[in-house]
Symmetry: C2
Subunit: 314 residues, 2 copies
């Protein structure tokens, strides 16, 4: 299977446009003053299900033929992808089989259930998740929609930068968080195609820096023990996302949790919007490396806004 | 002095438009589903200084002649009006003398100081605030800008509904929080002028219901002991705001703190935006009186977003 291209992303945008929100791009003069950069925040926290993940899930679901779709879709996820797939499937009127670790936060279980997802709980280990899903896919005939390492999903995530670069055409640099790499790889295809000279940076928490390690060592290195508040960025890159990132991305930079929390608080207090810790990693990197971004027009994708208000880090 | 008219509000808009944000109107399909109404949220939490108060302060400051302006402006306030006046004065390049109770939250002191306001601290009582301010106005020659009971301030606040009704022209109803009444009275002039048939409602916390009492008794009744989380709505109506409200407003409705907190949480979780408790009172009233708003297009002004993240009610 060839890698995702800009043409796939254009097709994806036509396919999903009726279902997604065109999210706004916000700026903050206070944050610009603090950082010395001019930052354009693409607010995927306002996307349906509260995260960019809906773009990729939507493209995968609506890209199926009627016969395929009738079989339903399935995935394992404890996070935003689960809710995104459940809602996309609901919109298409098909089943979504979601395997969730039984210790998933109640709020996430409610979200998936609320969108009509058919949930199977499993032990909170990767083998248990994969085995349980495999069994369900076999029994139901449902089609797997991977959270990131799948061409259609990457193409869907790439539509976010497509909107951003239409909304703000003259960016010098674009930064996205990187976990499994779906958003970063999709963004990198779009950004490199629309502006070959743009700087493309992945933002990763120091406490789960497999993408950084893979990038500098030029080989896929799975994440080891993770320790970060950015709970959306714990996963390792996949083969597809790694290849695209290695090809298109200029740098992967990391930030410690202290900077991530400071950046998150800055966004909450100054912009009056709710973002999850994973979304704040890009701003954390700008704050920690001001000289690198001084006077640049920087696009930052705020990936999502799903946080447990009872467990805030401040 | 005659009461504020729609013509004053139009003049105010021309005057302040270069300085204010045209704030967005957001909707939430989740909240529409829960309430049964179609709600258009005017996001003054995204306004400069994080609150609609900047509109009124800006109109008062930029409405001064050069000779008047040179004397500076003054007020007493522990809240958003203090920051709003300080920033408006800074933009005009004049002094703002702000009397603040010495027990004001540090975050508010920092905000006023950050905008260059000249702060005088006083004992946290109304007589101390008024006496201190009077002394400072005498000494400095500065001009008083009242937080709400002043024609120019009311006209400035009325520009918010002007934008909202241009952004969403077919509202059946408009609801704003009511404390001193500047926002509600200004809104009522605009809304009644642009659409004589529109329903105009003030939203007040049960724990500080002087506007409700004044409205139903058709006379100005100052607030007694207050007990509510909506700390922006503790003040009594003034003579000017009372007269305008009595003339234009259809109803004042009240909500208990439990509903206010529930509404605030709903806005944070579903809309991913930060609003202060005072902003959530209107939605609380819709939630508590669903039948009254069913299938109506309701404009709600989210008045501000300044909250202490370390003292959240959930």
């Amino acid at each position: 299977m060839h890698l995702t291209t800009f043409s796939d992303i254009e097709d994806a945008y036509v396919r999903i446009e009726p279902y997604i929100h065109m999210t706004p791009v916000l700026t903050s003069s206070a944050i610009n003053k603090i950082t010395g950069a001019e930052i354009f925040f693409k607010c995927e926290n306002f996307q349906k299900v509260g995260a960019f993940k809906f773009r990729g899930a939507c493209n995968a679901v609506f890209g199926l033929s009627d016969a395929e779709a009738a079989r339903g879709v399935g995935t394992h996820s404890s996070g935003n992808h689960a809710a995104a797939l459940a809602l996309a499937a609901k919109m298409r009127g098909i089943h979504a089989y979601i395997v969730m670790p039984k210790n998933s936060p109640q709020i996430k279980k409610n979200a998936v259930g609320g969108y009509g997802g058919i949930i199977t709980f499993c032990e909170p280990t990767l083998p248990a998740r994969e085995e349980t899903l495999e069994k369900i896919l076999l029994e139901s005939g449902a089609i797997l929609v991977h959270p990131y390492n799948q061409k259609e999903v990457i193409a869907g995530q790439g539509t976010c930068a497509l909107e951003l670069m239409e909304q703000q055409y003259n960016l010098d640099c674009i930064i996205t968080p990187v976990g499994g790499g779906g958003l970063l790889s999709g963004t990198s295809i779009t950004a490199r195609y629309l502006n070959p000279g743009i700087e493309i940076i992945g933002a990763e928490p120091k406490g789960a820096d497999d993408a950084y390690q893979s990038f500098v060592n030029k080989q896929l290195i799975p994440v080891g023990k993770t320790n970060t508040i950015a709970d959306g960025l714990l996963t390792s890159l996949g083969q597809l996302t790694f290849e695209l990132i290695a090809e298109n991305v200029d740098a992967i930079m990391t930030a410690p949790d202290s900077s991530i929390i400071q950046a998150m608080r800055l966004i909450w207090e100054r912009m009056k919007i709710i973002v999850e810790p994973s979304s704040a990693v890009a701003l954390a990197i700008i704050l920690d490396n001001k000289a690198d971004f001084k006077d640049k027009k920087v696009g930052v994708i705020l990936s999502g806004g799903n946080v447990d208000l009872e467990k805030l880090p401040f």
